[in-house]
Amino acid sequence: MRDTASPLLAIDDLHVAFSTRRGIVEAVRGVSLAVARGETLGIVGESGSGKSVTAFAITRLLDAAGRITAGTIRFRGEDITRASSKQLRSLHGAAISMIFQNPRGALNPIRSVGDQIADAITAHEPVSRQEARARALDLLKAVLIREPDKRLDAYPHELSGGMCQRVMIAMAIACEPALLIADEPTTGLDVTTQKTVMDLVARITAERGMAMILITHDLGLASRYCQRAIVMEQGRVVEEAPPHELFSRPRHPYTKRLVAASPTATSTIADLAPPAEGGDAPAIRPASAPAGERRRQPGTPMLLEVQHLVKRYDGLTAVDDVSFAIRAGESLGLVGESGSGKSTISRMVCRLIDCSAGEILFDGQAIGSLPARDFHRSTQRKDIQIVFQDPTDSLNPRFNAFDCIAHPLRRLLAMKDGAALTERVRECAGRAGLPFDLLERFPHQLSGGQKARVGIARAIACRPRLLILDEPTAALDVSVQAVILQLLDRLRREDDLALLFVSHDLNVVRMMCERTVVLQNGKVVEQGESQALFTAPRTAYARTLLEAVLHLGGPVAHPAGEMTPAAT
């Protein structure tokens, strides 16, 4: 702790409560923290830990149901806990500003980005519209937007997610605030974009002597960009230390669990094992070797062969001549950034959309020419099943967990209600680690991890031979992700199930998949054994992707590290 000067921001015993239909819920219960001038503080934690609520309490942007019930927030020594809306308005943007998680949603969709940046300037400074526009152009240059003079008149929907986030950063720094609060600024962005955006934020805050609070669920991000990190769990701060110390020698059990569950460059599925939690999931069979080292007899026939697959959307080629194959029981990873066509390929393989050209052979039979609309009647439908990205949206809200899992059994295997069906559903739920008493519940009564288990149980209900996983853990917390990954790996070994694993998370793919296909702009850039590809990528693009992955305990890249923290 540096207490040489009075801290820029000091929070003492903050409590925030939300009034909900089920009564008052305490989201933050006694958080105390301090941020020095020019310092970068990381707040890490999983969903529901209260990290974002703390940020919104500082800026008093809590939604109407949320209220600060106790504690004080001091900014530059002044108590702003009960500041009037007029005081807050002069603080917002000028002294404290925020960057949000969903950059596209955070920008006004029907106002040009130049006007929005100019709005941020004219809110605090008496400058003319032309002057504001000129400064907006300078800010666009500062956040490294290409062709800034053209982008000035662009609307948010004409920009990529990364570009929108740069515009958001430009707005946030427009009036040189002393404190920048970044709430999951790169969640949802591609790994390479994530790196450039975070490097940009780190450089700008260092150059302008701004303090930053970086709120993230990603320990790698915190360890790379923060000088100090605090870990939050259920509304409380459980540990505080410099990040490399925090993550190399975690003291609190929760931090230990969190660190263990975060995939690293060398971890294996077995390493992620959290201590058995309340008999929820059946004991995991210890995996002796990482997935990549298991060898299959060369004679095993191909289960799925994709040949010269093409998908065109009027004029735009989303997938361009992609070929790969999967043996029975093998797991193949599809990685790439957004727009690389990985999701489109997975949808074509599981026959939810039609392909424009090319062939898909499943078990030697051509299934690519069957119209996607009619594939549900095909006998192969039960052999190819899919687990979707969003565990909530992919479950019918009017079906309880039992009906969700029973649905494919009723439709594809024509099973009638009765003891046999109940038995089968219970078996699937058990294998997916879903307790039987949850089967009566509806999706909104289940947690994210439980919903993911329902989705998996439904996908394995018909005993498929190929399981397509489209970012199956992207919406889950790391500790839940660890359990789900182990579950999937176990199911694969037990059933000799082939997996097509689509993900943007390279560490996850490295652990889960024997072979990996790297895609860029709809084309295969590189494919091969995961082990070899991840240790020695042959192409420049694969190398860029790998270098953008932030590892726990990796080098601290914060440029402000060289600066004296008190400099403003």
Binding site: L61, D63, H92, G105, A106, P109, A120, H124, M171
Partner: protein, 343 residues
């Protein structure tokens, strides 16, 4: 410029795609008129004593003795050449009848829509800014009242209050009082024509005639507009970009008007288009109560006397206006929301 041309292109495509619907309306109304009870030939015969021969003669004159498909073809051909037929009650061509009455209806509807929007949008915004407050409940009450009182009742009540009791309004007998001389006809819209002729006395006389019927119609449509405004405002006030605007310290006025309201106005625009079309066709009660010489009351009179041509002309007119209104809403939408022009 390119934005304008894309909007024009979109409008053009929309127009072409609505042509089949217009044709369907034509055929449908033609058939409908043929199955409605009542024989126009009997109605227009000289009297109850008219003989069979006379009725047959009238039938022949009207083309009613031909088979139905042939009648339909002739009807379509007539419409193609701009001939909507002749009204048997007024003795005038339907086209000129409609042309002289449409401005009255349009003026009334436009004024009512303007009044409704000017009332409903502020009410909706006020309600959304303080949800579940006294203002919100008051707005809800006003809306409920507007919807549940039928226009002929609210019209009569307004006449009772402002004409009979207070004497503020002129007698509800059409667009002029008897002492005003009509302006030289340019657009048919009295307020515009009087303004063009710089006859301000006449203008205010026409405006006074217009206020009560317009108010009556506006009352009825304030509710949907205000409710939509409230819902859209609530959604956009709770959106991420309004949160961003607050986090940057923008003034309250800027947040409410530039950020929230401009986004919220998009669904209001859609509803306003629908409301306008509905009002134009459904204002027959208001026209009757205020003796307003509009197209709706004209069509009703024609219908009651089994006079086919004006009714068909009216339905066709309404369908065309509906298409036009949708086109206008589309174009406005394209201007208001830059995302729409991307397809």
């Amino acid at each position: 410029m390119s934005q304008l041309s894309t909007i024009a292109g979109r409008a053009g495509r929309r127009f072409v795609s609505s042509l089949p619907a217009l044709f369907g309306v034509l055929v449908f109304t033609f058939l409908l008129m043929r199955v409605l009870p009542g024989d126009p030939a009997v109605f227009f015969a000289s009297g109850p004593t008219a003989g069979k021969e006379e009725i047959e003669l009238i039938r022949k004159q009207m083309g009613l003795d031909k088979p139905v498909p042939e009648q339909l073809l002739r009807y379509l051909g007539d419409i193609g050449s701009g001939n909507l037929g002749r009204s048997l009650t007024t003795g005038q061509p339907v086209l000129s009848d409609l042309r002289s009455r449409l401005p009255a209806s349009l003026e009334l509807t436009f004024s009512a829509l303007l009044i409704a929007l000017l009332t409903a949008v502020p009410l909706g915004v006020a309600a959304a800014l303080r949800p579940n407050s006294a203002i919100d409940h008051l707005v809800r009450f006003i809306c409920a009242l507007g919807v549940c009182v039928p226009t002929f009742v609210s019209g009569l009540l307004l006449i009772y209050a402002f004409y009979y009791l207070l004497g503020w309004a002129p007698d509800p007998t059409g667009r002029f009082d008897i002492f005003t001389s009509p302006p030289p006809q340019v657009t048919g819209f009295l307020l515009i024509d009087f303004a063009l002729a710089r006859d301000w006395e006449g203008w205010s006389a026409a405006a006074r005639q217009l206020v009560l019927p317009a108010l009556t119609m506006a009352l009825f449509v304030v509710a949907p507009l205000a409710r939509i405004t409230r819902a859209a405002m609530l959604a956009s006030l709770g959106s991420d970009f309004v949160r961003t605007a607050r986090s940057l310290g923008l003034s309250r006025r800027k947040i409410v008007v530039t950020y929230a309201l401009r986004n919220a106005i998009l669904p209001v625009l859609t509803i306003a288009g629908i409301v306008f079309s509905t009002m134009l066709g459904a204002n027959v009660l208001v026209e009757k109560v205020f003796s307003w010489p509009g197209v709706a009351s004209y069509a009703l009179d024609a219908l009651l006397s089994s006079d086919y041509a004006p009714v068909q002309g009216f339905v066709l007119l309404m369908a065309s206006i509906f298409v036009l209104v949708n086109l206008t809403v589309d174009v406005l939408y394209g201007i208001a929301d830059p995302r729409v022009s991307v397809e």
